[in-house]
Amino acid sequence: MKQFDTFLGKKGSTPASPTGQPLVDVQGLRVTARKDDGSSVEIVKNVDFTVARGEVLALIGESGSGKTTIALSLLGYARSGCQIAGGQIRIGQRQIDQMDEKALLAMRGHHVAYIAQSAAAAFNPARTLMDQVIESALQHGVMDKASARAKAVELFRALALPKPESIGDRYPHQVSGGQLQRVMAAMALITDPELVILDEPTTALDVTTQIEVLRAFKKVVKELGTTAVYVSHDLAVVAQMADRIIVLRDGAVREMGSTGQVLHEPADSYTQSLIAAVSPATRVAQLREVLPASMPAEVRAPLLRISGLVAGYGAPDRLGLPGVRILDDINLTIQRGSTVGIIGESGSGKTTLARAVAGMIAPARGSIQLDGQNLSPTLEGRTREQFRRVQIVFQNADTALNPAHSIGRILNRPLAFYHGLKGDAMRRRTAELLDLVKLPSSVIDRLPAELSGGQKQRVNLARALAAKPDLILCDEVTSALDTVVAAAILELLAELRRELQVSYMFISHDISTVRAICDDIVVLYAGRMVANRPREAMMAPPYHPYSHLLLSSVPAMQQGWLEQVAGAGQHKLPPIGAADPSPEICAFLPRCSLRVDGVCNVVPPRRRNMEHGGEILCHRSDADLQQAQAPLLPVEGVTV
């Protein structure tokens, strides 16, 4: 059996064999899921598609559209509770739907390989990368250990991993997330599979990492002529990778066509709405403009003033500062009724900043003032009125709402706690709140688990609004949501600001979202504020080198963008001497393409104002930056 498979596999991997016939042919695929009451529901409805040899097909859709289910069925696999109920799946010579479990096992990881979203969860932390990469090749008896190792090193090199000869000796925790994702690609490709399934492989990565990973994937796919099915919710990413796109909704195909056609001339109304939702900038910006340009209140003291904030953990050093600083010297102000965006990669200290303002993490230095009044660094020292005025909305509505409390109870609590409402007055206010966040009043008696992700996030927001706050700290509130739902939440935020005059501190890793709704944008890098500038200044160079890197790494919904753009890792970094070990030295130095030897690595940068507004932390002058930074590609959907 195994030998037969191996034989078939070899036959399949030589492109000469059956030409003219597509490699993958799926006809009338139906997948059903069992519901609580024992009845079954179709989650994939009669889907047909083919993938030609060497083609990359993208499956795109929101969560629950069945895209992952379809991809998994190509492996002959259905998640627990689900079942492939009908249809034909053919890959090469194999009829997947008629294979038994043993034959499927021999096929998986050999002829058809799978790259999952979270590489960190897919690797065994106790074994070296090399062991895990060559495991499937050894298991399926494709090659011996020495040639598998040689092949893995070759793949590491092709995937642009650093030190391809020795990276295999490391353990999963010793490489970065983006590198791990690429190692996982090597693991999938080691057996020369006929088909590779990529399931949202870059969704969990930062933009600057994503672009590196995408570039590596694209190169390998092109060089090896791999046939792939790419599952994603992100149209811009798909535009870079795919030859053809299938748009899915509720388990059915809405549109199928070449990448260019789907992106530029979408025929289906749902596809059109998806594409519109990718660029919230324009729609929300319109709402923004309605705001009274400058209110008299602005003349007065700012609503929130953070000065010289330092926070971190670890044993204090001799100056009494924490050993590991998560936030270093943060200075910013938020005016009444305005929105300040905080962007940065994971680990840059965004969430810590919000928590410090909310009083949940006591800063080591610095002060936080609300309306000129010092806020206590700890929760204990704050008054209920201060608690009321600053509300925090957490990223993940799934865990931010108590699963044991009904929606009504969740919303009632702040009303009773801050405003002492009860009885009819409370009921009325709760109804108003639900109305404000556009939820039907019937949700009152439901539990959070009975709501959708977008609805939960609305409840989460309504709970913060119940306090009638002056400032809402929004921590990645749209990151876990589908594009269309996220766009609706952003619109809601903009509308609420106009109606209620609240201020937001809007934390996100997504620069286009931040640019869509924020007045001022603060860029954090490794806990430092490298730039703090008004939104308009973030529309054209000069930028701080890190801002520029971030901006140029956001995929544009345009084919060929990946090849044209000068994102991360494209520039040769100028050589520099040894860097001064002082923590004051520019943190971005190791990645900066504009660094100056003898200045950047020796002298700490000073905060300076820019001509076009705002301030940055950089040695380079405006003119220098302007010269080095080409204007970003003008792309529809991203307002540059």
Binding site: G38, S39, L447
Partner: protein, 293 residues
């Protein structure tokens, strides 16, 4: 509390189904759970009604026929003094279940309360409490009970307190690990950021989300306590005459073991049936969420 929402669960979610869709009620509990429930229900009923329906007075010597077998006169035989065994067992039910219940409630309640406090305050408080209770766990339970009885003499109150102290650290450990997980959830963080007090957060935000495993542990702990108290009674350190629990019934009739007297076997069977019943019940009692899976 959750059970109230059972019928509206799932179906009422984001995409509402047509109202006419037949909603088949999921059978909540398995057959095993029902058997367990029946056994436990029977013994609880006997604890309440036992003495009033027993054929004889529990302390009355009915006949000179000791260690007799089953007969119309003695449904479950007679003991070493010629007393009716059925009446003795019914009489002992109250002490057995009552003491065990009191001790378990005490152990689980204090364990959970201390665990909530430790998990919520964290830091050195958590460390001190956890290590102290770990030290307590390391003392063998029977040894500890012997020590207590030897020091203070046996009384109902002492037995309850002793059993509670013995099994509190176990309850604490379970509850603390649950509380640490719940405490890290964002809804607890949100409550803290709202300025809520410790009491509100512990009782309203945290407790409802850990109550189910705590209750399952309660059932298990009840069984341990029954066995500990019966064991103590068997060593004649537990319930003292004229009161009797099942453990002491076994001990006082132990001389009949050689001839296979029902007087030894019946109370032992009673202990076994109660513990098995409770175990069946808690192992198979499932919540709404578990029933769906």
């Amino acid at each position: 509390m959750k059970a109230l929402h059972d019928s509206t669960g799932g179906e009422a979610a984001a995409a509402p189904l047509p109202a006419s869709a037949p909603v088949k009620r999921v059978r909540r509990h398995s057959t095993m759970a029902w058997i367990g429930m029946a056994i436990v229900g029977f013994w609880v009923l006997m604890a309440i009604l036992g003495p009033s329906i027993s054929p004889y007075d529990a302390t009355a010597i009915v006949d000179t026929d000791v260690f007799s077998g089953m007969s119309h006169k003695f449904l479950l035989g007679s003991d070493y003094l010629g007393r009716d065994m059925l009446s003795r067992i019914l009489f002992g039910t109250r002490a057995t279940i009552g003491l065990a219940l009191a001790a378990t409630v005490l152990a689980s309640a204090t364990g959970t309360a201390v665990a909530l406090f430790a998990a919520f305050s964290g830091g050195w408080r958590d460390a001190v409490i956890s290590r102290a209770l770990d030290a307590l766990i390391s003392i063998p339970s029977k040894m500890f009970a012997l020590m207590m009885v030897a020091t203070f003499g046996s009384s109902m109150l002492l037995l309850v307190v002793t059993a509670a102290i013995t099994y509190m650290p176990g309850a604490y450990r379970i509850a603390r690990s649950l509380a640490v997980n719940v405490q890290a959830m964002e809804y607890v963080q949100a409550a803290r950021a709202r300025g809520e007090g410790v009491w509100y957060i512990m009782t309203t935000e945290m407790l409802p989300n850990m109550i189910r495993p705590v209750l399952a542990d309660f059932g298990l702990r009840f069984v341990y306590v029954v066995l500990l108290l019966s064991g103590l009674s068997f060593l004649s350190l537990g319930v003292q005459p004229p009161d009797a629990d099942w453990g002491s019934l076994v001990r006082e009739n132990i001389s009949g073991l050689g001839e296979g007297a029902l007087a030894v076997i019946m109370p032992a069977l009673a202990i076994a049936s109660l513990t098995i019943g409770v175990n069946l019940l808690i192992d198979n009692l499932r919540g709404k969420r578990a029933a769906k899976e």
